[in-house]
């Protein structure tokens, strides 16, 4: 029903000023109530209503933009010249100086100040109030509980979070950390994901210090220990690139697709060389490739990880290279075995010298003990194992942990301390001379699995990176970072003792096997056919000759009796 009100106005009255005046109300339209509508409604009884007598309020939120603050310094070089002296004109300044020096007041002042100053200079020379007494006193035993305090968290600034898969500390001082970001789940990378990896400055968790832009996300990254400006990174598509931090964010050079790996490059390690430019990489496609960064167009050497020498290639997941042993290196494989390889082998078959089987799953971390080079740590499946080069079984291993272990490393300052990172987002600190049964301390980092854990060279700081892209920096308590008294001796004794134990066990097993083989030599040689007949005849003759008293008839009698026994069956 449309309610319309119509009025007329002459055209010549358009635009005139409106003259408003009151007039009594008159009904334009009256709509009486229609009781039939009542059928559409039911009465509500009881009826609860709330009323409040207070002013209407509304809520607003405001978030100011955060200001980016940076620190800058200014160096003021010259100043304070009075107005009539031109600072740039040397003559002027010299004249001004000379004028002052002639001033009597100046001379008096200088004399007075000179005396004052001399007094303090002599004071300084007499006693050094800042001298440290008892500097040579041995440190008292630090008995603070082992702990790790988290200092900073560095989050991936991109909106699509990638896992921080590998991290590398800046060599020596360790004020920067390079972190490689990628998504390792097969086909888990969204198309608009950023490919960048970052270098973070330890002091500044708000923004990365530098960005590295590869063509494909980087899975592993390492600083060159000889030249801290150079980093090498292995990417998800198998290529290797190297960056120079002085030259910007794009790689200086990248290896060609045909010559690189066919699977993501899981680990790279720098090699001891005169030029400091060589490194090698390993991937689950079963290849270990050596490269020189000056010529990344093709690898200088290739090696297939082929422990059985029969063409079954094992993928490699970790590498270790120790600069003091330049011809030997180790590869951790996907099948849980660790391979000790010799770089100088003549034939490819000789490349792998030793195989150390031991893990149920891929070996995720492999590192030699920085103090005892013959022993190394492997981390894989649910436990960590310590090996000695001479024995094929681990000399020590931790018990199975509740969650899968993903990475581990030794402490660079204490020979018996190592760290393991777990899938539940925590990492364990093992102090092996203190307790072997369980970790000395466990630190929960975050809720997502940790991918990589690396200790800084001075031993005090640890960085752990996780699948949600965050990297956390921890500071260890002093007891865990400082070398304890006699620690080296105790740990080396422990290692030797375990080594001896394994050796004795192995030789005992071997002896037992040899003895068992010797005890039944004939059972190994069962003659058949004709040889058996002859043997039987010979033993029968022997038997009868023994029981015979001389007439030779015993044998015929025995034969007749046997024939009689057999006869009834035929009839």
């Amino acid at each position: 029903m449309e309610i319309v009100y119509v009025y007329q106005k002459k055209r010549r009255e358009f635009g005139k000023q409106a003259m408003l005046s009151d007039r009594p109300a008159d009904i334009g339209l009256s709509i009486p109530p229609d009781p039939s509508y009542l059928k559409n409604y039911t009465e509500r009884n009881p009826s609860h209503t709330e009323a409040q007598c207070c002013p209407d309020k509304s809520e607003h939120e405001v978030n100011t933009d955060s200001y980016v603050l940076t620190n800058r310094g200014i160096l003021h070089t010259q100043g304070g010249w009075p107005k009539d002296v031109d600072a740039t004109d040397v003559e002027h300044t010299i004249r001004f100086r000379k004028k002052i020096e002639k001033d009597e007041e100046y001379m008096r002042v200088i004399k007075h100040l000179g005396d004052c100053m001399e007094h303090t200079i002599k004071q300084n020379n007499a006693i050094d109030i800042y001298q440290e007494y008892f500097q040579e006193a041995p440190e008292t035993h630090v008995s603070d509980a082992p702990s790790a305090k988290s200092l900073n968290v560095y989050r991936d600034p991109n909106s699509i979070k990638r896992a921080a898969t590998y991290l590398s500390w800046y060599p020596e001082e360790g004020h920067k950390i390079a972190v490689a970001y990628s998504v390792l789940q097969f086909q888990g990378m969204p198309s608009n994901m950023s490919l960048d990896s970052y270098i973070w400055d330890v002091e500044n968790p708000n923004a990365p210090d530098q960005t590295l832009t590869p063509t494909s996300p980087i899975v592993c990254i390492k600083y060159n220990p000889k030249d801290p400006h150079i980093l090498v990174g292995g990417s998800y598509n198998g290529l290797l690139s190297y960056w120079d931090t002085r030259k910007g964010s794009f790689p200086v050079d990248t290896s060609p697709l045909e010559k690189s790996h066919r699977d993501p490059v899981y680990n790279v390690a720098w090699v001891q060389s005169k030029s400091g430019c060589e490194f090698f990489s390993v991937s689950t496609d079963g290849q270990a490739l050596w490269w020189d960064i000056r010529k990344l167009s093709e690898p200088t050497e290739t090696m297939m990880i082929d422990p059985e020498k029969n063409g079954n290639i094992v993928g490699g997941t970790v590498l270790d290279f120790e600069t003091t042993m330049p011809t030997k290196f180790m590869i951790g494989g996907e099948n849980g075995a660790t391979f000790m390889c010799n770089k100088k082998a003549k034939t490819p078959g000789d490349k792998i010298t030793h195989v150390y089987p031991g893990h149920h799953g891929p070996v995720y971390a492999l590192q030699r003990n920085p103090f005892f080079l013959k022993n190394f740590l492997t981390v894989g499946d649910w436990k960590a194992q310590i090996w000695s080069e001479d024995i094929r079984s681990p000399i020590m291993s931790t018990k199975y942990s509740m969650s899968y272990l993903t990475d581990g490393c030794w402490s660079p300052t204490r020979p018996s301390v190592f760290f393991t990172a777990k899938m539940d987002g925590s990492f364990d600190i093992w102090d092996y001379i203190f307790k072997q049964v369980e970790p000395t301390h466990t630190v929960q980092v975050c809720n997502s699995p940790l991918h990589s854990i690396k200790a800084q060279e001075h031993g005090r700081l640890i960085a752990a990176s996780a699948r949600d892209g965050s990297m956390t920096l921890f500071e260890l308590s002093e007891g865990l970072a400082k070398l304890q008294n006699n620690e080296k001796k105790i740990f080396s004794e422990m290692l030797e003792r375990e080594l001896k134990r394994e050796k004795t066990l192995e030789s005992a097993v071997r002896e037992k096997r040899i003895k068992a083989a010797q005890k039944r030599p004939n059972s190994a040689f069962m003659p058949t056919g004709q040889a058996l007949e002859e043997l039987l005849k010979a033993s029968e003759d022997d038997f009868y000759s023994y029981i015979d008293d001389g007439d030779g008839k015993l044998r015929d009698e025995a034969m007749a009796r046997i024939a009689e026994y057999e006869k009834p069956t035929s009839s």
Partner: protein, 107 residues
């Protein structure tokens, strides 16, 4: 005549005083400046001298202000800044400042 001789003598005395300061063990350099920071005399090289004068002079003025603010009857007698490598000592009067750098552990 005698006035000129007096000034000469005073001039010499200034030189003597500065030399004596310099020969003390560990003294690395002396800089004399005005309150605005203008260098009048210095025994150090051309790079360090302006650095020292422009950095230390405002610091000395500030510390003088602090001492006065805390107690209006007090005044700054001497300012010493001990750093890991050396000690910076500042003595001042109404018009001039004397800055001495000393390293008492010089081997």
């Amino acid at each position: 005549m005698s006035a000129a001789k007096d000034t000469n003598r005073d001039y010499n005395e200034v030189e003597i005083a500065l030399n004596r300061l310099q020969t003390h063990k560990g003294v690395q350099g002396i800089v004399i400046t005005t309150h605005e920071g203008t260098v009048i005399r210095s025994t150090m090289d051309n790079i360090q001298t302006p650095q020292i004068s422009t950095l230390v002079t405002p610091l000395a003025a500030r510390s003088k202000g602090v001492v006065r603010d805390l107690d209006p009857e007090d005044e700054l007698k001497f300012l010493r800044i001990r750093s890991k490598k050396h000690e910076i000592m500042v003595a001042e009067t109404k018009s001039y400042l004397m800055i001495v750098i000393q390293n008492p552990h010089e081997l």
